[in-house]
Structures are given as structure tokens and as C-alpha cells.
Point group: C2
Chain length 215, copies 2
DNA sequence: ATATGTGAATTGATTCACAGCG
DNA sequence: CGCTGTGAATCAATTCACATAT
């Protein structure tokens, strides 16, 4: 298979979300136009993105909401369950632990880890908190495939290597650090401070333009 | 000015972060090669990204860490302070409220909003929590320019419109919804569930490849 | 000597137009 | 007739090579 643009994968996730809201509204059939409007992309884009993976519509009639949703689940690997661990049970880690929508998408939170002795041994949102040094055994015990990394920046790379050594191949990194991903490990960065800075740029650039236009 | 690729803006944010770690290590001078290695991009890319905005290095010698850092702050609009509000004081909103690094980058958290009557009137991490219906006055009172939107998906679009009407032009959206941004409003999406799904795709695609290779 | 800054070349992604199917 | 699926064309971003400055 030709390699898929990662932007396409990101948009598939969006289409899936849109399909869910359509299904909630009782809508059974849709079109690339509909999906495009809701996802804020072009209808060409929707069709091209789907075309990388197959043919899911009926010409003249559009797409079946349920069927397309099922296909997208399959493509994104969401039909199977993924076992998830949280590394770092600070504010953010705890907030993620009782985020309800994770289970809805087959992400099963199995374990949490922290260095603070007072947290170790507690149970947060039904999930046991282990010491970081137990990570290798516990990751294997719970068959963890994906980690949510919420440790402070300084510890992120070390944690990544420990996770990789324990066999974890997917990491969602919440730290403001560029990780050097070990061979075979996929890292997705979620950096809200970076998002804030991009907003700052957008507002700032706009203001400078206005000033220039006014002069 | 020619329009800047948004990917470039994202990378500038990364370079800034790398420069901060270099400065912490007492490093005074750097090069496009160094920055590239730390940011995991090519040196060409670093130079091209910077070239959109000017000439910041000395040929033969590289870049001054402090000077480049100052320039990037200026470019990204981080020299001035931005007043920030959090909309939705659930788990995530509260976690964001006492995230310490925001102030370091001149993002000043001024106010928080929630619909729950028992939260209204409390002070979280030094920040007053107001009722959603007070949003117009309070946003103006605190001169809020940027909002962190952490309300559930259903309420996100309505909150966006209320914010826009109150004069907020920058929104970081944590909800799993595609927002229709009102005219002149910039939205940055931070969606960790989407990140998790992209990881799922990466691991799943890899596994399918392996199976195909083995057959 | 060395590392930046930049036009030219290349690669990749998006847009388009329409052929093909229901 | 309508809407999908897709090769071709356009547009944008990345990579490269090297002239240029210190």
C-alpha cells in the first residue's frame, strides 16, 4: 500500500466523529458534501481520503452512515481493544484517568504509574497506581500497548525508553518536549501550550497586518 | 508578507522550546544543524522556516541562542502578555488552571467560567469562577483575548459564539468537535482522543503490514 | 573554513474535471 | 440524473546545491 499522508489519517478521525453525530441525530445516509461541510474540508478531500482505503459509497446515493463508520473503525484499528496506561498521575494524569470517552472507543485504561510514594498503591478512577520502577512487570502483566505520557518534560525521554523496553509501541506525549522515539515506537504529541502559542502567533500576525494597513 | 505555512509556525514553537533547553544547559551559540537534531527536522527546514521572517544568524558562525530566542518570541507574539480564560471547570479545566508553565510564557489566567452553581463564586488556583451567563461582562472586565475551551462537545459551538460576541479572537478547543469559527476568530484544536486514535492507526497499520509480509 | 540564506528542483498534497456506476 | 471514484493538473511544501558572508 502506498504510504498514507498523516493529514489523511487525522481527517479520517474527524470523519468518524462527524458520522457519530449524524448517527446520534438519526441520520442513516450521507454524502461527501455533508461530511465535508461538517468536517470543514472540501468534498474532493473527503473522497480522496477515503479512496486511499477502498470504495465505500454508492454512486448517485452517497454513503451509509453505519457502514462507513464501521469501515473507518476498521481502518483506524478501533475494532480491537487497546490497553492503555497513564505515566504520571499529576493533575493532568488524574483528569485523563476519569475521562469517560476513552472506554467508548475501546481504549481500556489498565494501569497508572507515578514516582510519588504517597500515590503508589492508591486506586484512581478504578485504576491501580504503581511505582515507576514496577513499570516493566506491570506493563507486561496488563498487556499495555499504549501509554499516555504526562510526566514533566525532564522525565519524558527516560520514561519513553522505559516504555519502549517494556514493549509499549504507542505513546501520546503531553509533555512539551520533542521525544526521540525508539525504533518501532509511534509518538503523537499533544501540546496545549504549543496550541496557545500558535494562537498567539495568529492574533499577533493579524494585529501587525492591521497596523501595517493603517499606516 | 507571503502567507506562512502553519507547519512552519508549529516548528517555530518547537525551536523556541529547544532554545530554552539549550539556554538552560548554558549553551550560548548554536547552528541550524543543532536545532534540527533537537527538533527532529532537517537543517534545511530550520533555515527555510527562519528565512520567512528574516536573517538571524551569522554565516560561518551560526545563531546566538539568546538573540534567536528573543526573535522567535517577537515573531510568535509572546513578548506581550495575553489574558486567558478557561471555559468549563471540570477535571481538565481545573488541571489547566494550576498548570504552572502558562505564566512563564506570558499567558495570564484571569477568569474561569462554569454552568454548575456550586462552582460559581469559588476561586481555583487563584482564579475566580464565574457563571457562564456572566461571560460577556467578565470577559470585557478582565480584557480576555484567548479562551481555553474545555466544555463537553455539545456546548462547544454555543460557547464559541458567546466568546466571539464578547470579543475573544483566539480559542484553544479541547472538545472533540469541529468548531465553525466565527469571522476573525482563530481556533486551535487539542484533541487527545484523536491523538490516541492516530496511534491506534499507526500500530494497527504496522501489524497488518507484518501479517501481509509473513504470508 | 564554515555555516547561513536562497533560488531552483523535487516531492507531496490538494484541487479539479469528468468518467463510471447505480 | 446524482454522487462517487480517480487520473491529470495545480498548488504548496520540502529538499537540495551553492553562492555569500564572516
Amino acid at each position: 500500500m502506498a504510504s498514507i499522508p498523516s493529514a489523511t489519517v487525522g481527517r479520517l478521525v474527524t470523519y468518524l466523529r462527524v458520522l457519530a453525530t449524524l448517527a446520534d441525530r438519526g441520520i442513516v445516509r450521507t454524502s461527501s458534501d455533508d461530511l465535508a461541510r461538517e468536517a470543514r474540508v472540501s468534498a474532493f478531500q473527503v473522497r480522496k481520503d477515503l479512496a486511499y482505503f477502498g470504495r465505500f459509497g454508492t454512486r448517485g446515493a452517497g454513503y451509509d452512515v453505519d457502514a462507513l463508520s464501521t469501515e473507518l473503525h476498521r481502518i483506524l484499528g478501533l475494532e480491537r481493544a487497546w490497553n492503555v496506561a497513564i505515566i504520571g498521575m499529576g493533575r493532568l494524569g488524574s483528569a485523563l484517568a476519569d475521562y469517560p470517552n476513552m472506554a467508548r472507543y475501546n481504549f481500556c485504561l489498565q494501569a497508572a504509574f507515578d514516582v510519588a510514594p504517597e500515590k503508589v498503591g492508591t486506586v484512581v478512577a478504578g485504576v491501580p497506581v504503581y511505582a515507576m520502577r514496577e513499570l516493566p512487570e506491570r506493563v507486561r502483566e496488563h498487556d499495555v500497548q499504549v501509554a499516555l505520557l504526562t510526566v514533566p518534560g525532564e522525565g519524558a525521554q527516560a520514561a519513553t525508553e522505559a516504555l519502549a523496553a517494556a514493549g509499549v509501541r504507542g505513546i501520546v506525549n503531553f509533555a512539551s518536549t520533542v521525544l526521540d522515539p525508539p525504533e518501532g515506537v509511534h509518538v503523537e504529541a499533544i501540546d496545549f501550550l504549543a496550541g496557545l502559542k500558535r494562537v498567539s502567533y495568529a492574533l499577533h500576525a493579524e494585529t501587525s497586518d492591521d497596523e501595517r494597513a493603517a499606516s
